[in-house]
Amino acid sequence: MAFLEAIFAPIGRSTLMLLAAIGRIAVFTADTLSHLVRPPFYLREFGQQIMAIGYFSLPVVGLTALFTGGALALQIYAGGARFNAESVVPSIVAIGMVRELGPVLGGLMVAGRVAASVAAELGTMKVTEQIDALVTLSTNPMKYLTVPRVLAATLTMPILAGIGDVIGILGGYLVGTSRLGFNSAAYISNTLDFLEPWDVVSGLVKAAVFGFIVALMGCYHGMNSGRGAQGVGKATTNAVVSASVLILAANFILTEAFFTQ
């Protein structure tokens, strides 16, 4: 009996812990959504978060897209050469960037940058009683801290992804014209001819969902941070890991929903 217990007890315990965590995150999400539509709204904080989350993520998203687009062009060229299909490079780079790599890699980079900083900031606020202080000053932390961050990330992430798409295609173009012998005008017309509006829109919708996930995970783990420096460190790690995993899972689900007939 003891032998069986030693095997099954840890499995049961971790399953229960996982279910409890899913439940808490679901409640937190519902709470966030309900505060999203109820006043008061903190516009100043929202504006600050647009800058902190959106604007200051531009360099990291732009660089990621640039190198990814370039590498993608090289790979597709090498792969396409095996069956004389080198000419597909421009259109595949464009489709690959806008449908998949722009939003996903952009989302993952923003997860690293934003989920970490939000979790560390809110975690430190929790540990130093600043969140309690907010409550005593008649300010709801969900409205004052979570809503501006979640809203800013959800709205700016599609813009970031859109800019990333353009820069990624530019990366492919630069590699294509300088290293792979493509004609500049032909590359551009090839890119545009095969790209459909839904390719772009589906990518931007994905990006909005990823932005929501990133800020939500940052806020959730920050607000539920343990005590001390160690607690904040753990909250930060958990925020980045959970945001990244949820982005990849959500990406699969959304792709399945958007593109399978």
Binding site: E129, Q130, A133, V135, T136, L137, S138, T139
Partner: protein, 251 residues
């Protein structure tokens, strides 16, 4: 005198750790009560249950005769000011924005100039010059941060003020200054004050009444003048800082 805050058999546990085991205490309007007790005996928990930051497992807390958990939260919290142990100043905001936090948003919102003027006035009241107003909390010393926290606590002229270990981490002179400020401000505002501390110099400077929390209950309560002659061995050990006595030194 009417009662401002009343704890009635309040219980609160964190998992298996029963922190409050039936706390009953009443604080009269306009008086200053100091709660003493060892570290980890639940003094902060008491204050947090009044403010609704923690929910008691059982028992009732009345504020001005009404149940603290019922009614409009914003109106309820607007009656309180609190000085946190570490100051809990918002480090993304300047000093004056911290002090005027309540005046810049929500029900008590007023024009920015006016809020700033009130903030500077409150800063002056706690002995800080107006130059500090535009600095960030991280640029200030510990004593100055405590003063800013104090200014924030009194910014909206609350009826009830809580002080969580107001002198912790300060040198004896600065402790004296803060104690004196608290005493003066509470008296001139006519506010009801509840302070938690284990600094005996604070107790003697601030308190009208003293309550000692031990083992999750109020062990002794009475006017500060009767503290030394109470005959209670627990209180005696605590206020005289004895290592031997009924309170175990290893907790």
């Amino acid at each position: 005198m009417s009662k401002m805050i009343e704890f009635q058999d309040v219980h609160k546990a964190f998992g298996a750790n029963k922190v409050l085991r039936g706390v009953s205490l009443s604080v009269d309007k306009g008086t200053s009560t100091v709660i003493i007790g060892g570290s980890g005996t639940g003094k902060s928990v008491m204050i947090k249950t009044v403010l609704g930051l923690l929910k008691p497992d059982s028992g009732t807390i009345l504020v001005d005769g009404a149940d603290a958990t019922a009614g409009d939260r914003d109106a309820f919290l607007a009656r309180f000011g609190m000085l946190f142990q570490g100051g809990a100043l918002f480090d993304s905001l300047t000093v004056w924005q911290n002090v005027a936090f309540r005046l810049l948003r929500g029900a008590l919102k007023r024009p920015r100039d006016e809020a700033r003027a009130i903030a500077i006035e409150k800063l002056r009241r706690v002995g800080l010059r107006s130059e500090v107003a535009d600095q960030f909390p991280a640029e200030l010393s510990g004593g100055m941060q405590k003063r800013v926290g104090l200014a924030r606590a009194i910014a909206a002229d609350p009826e009830i003020i809580f002080f969580d270990e107001p002198t912790t981490g300060l040198d004896p002179i600065m402790s004296g200054v803060i104690n004196e400020l608290i005493r003066e401000i509470v008296t001139e505002m006519g506010a009801t004050a509840m302070t938690i501390t284990h600094d005996m110099s604070s107790v003697r400077a601030i308190a009208d009444n003293v309550a000692m929390l031990h083992d999750g209950k109020i062990r002794w309560t009475g006017p500060v003048g009767e503290m030394d002659t109470s005959g209670d061995p627990y209180l005696h050990q605590f206020i005289n800082a004895r290592a031997d006595g009924p309170i175990e030194a290893v907790r």
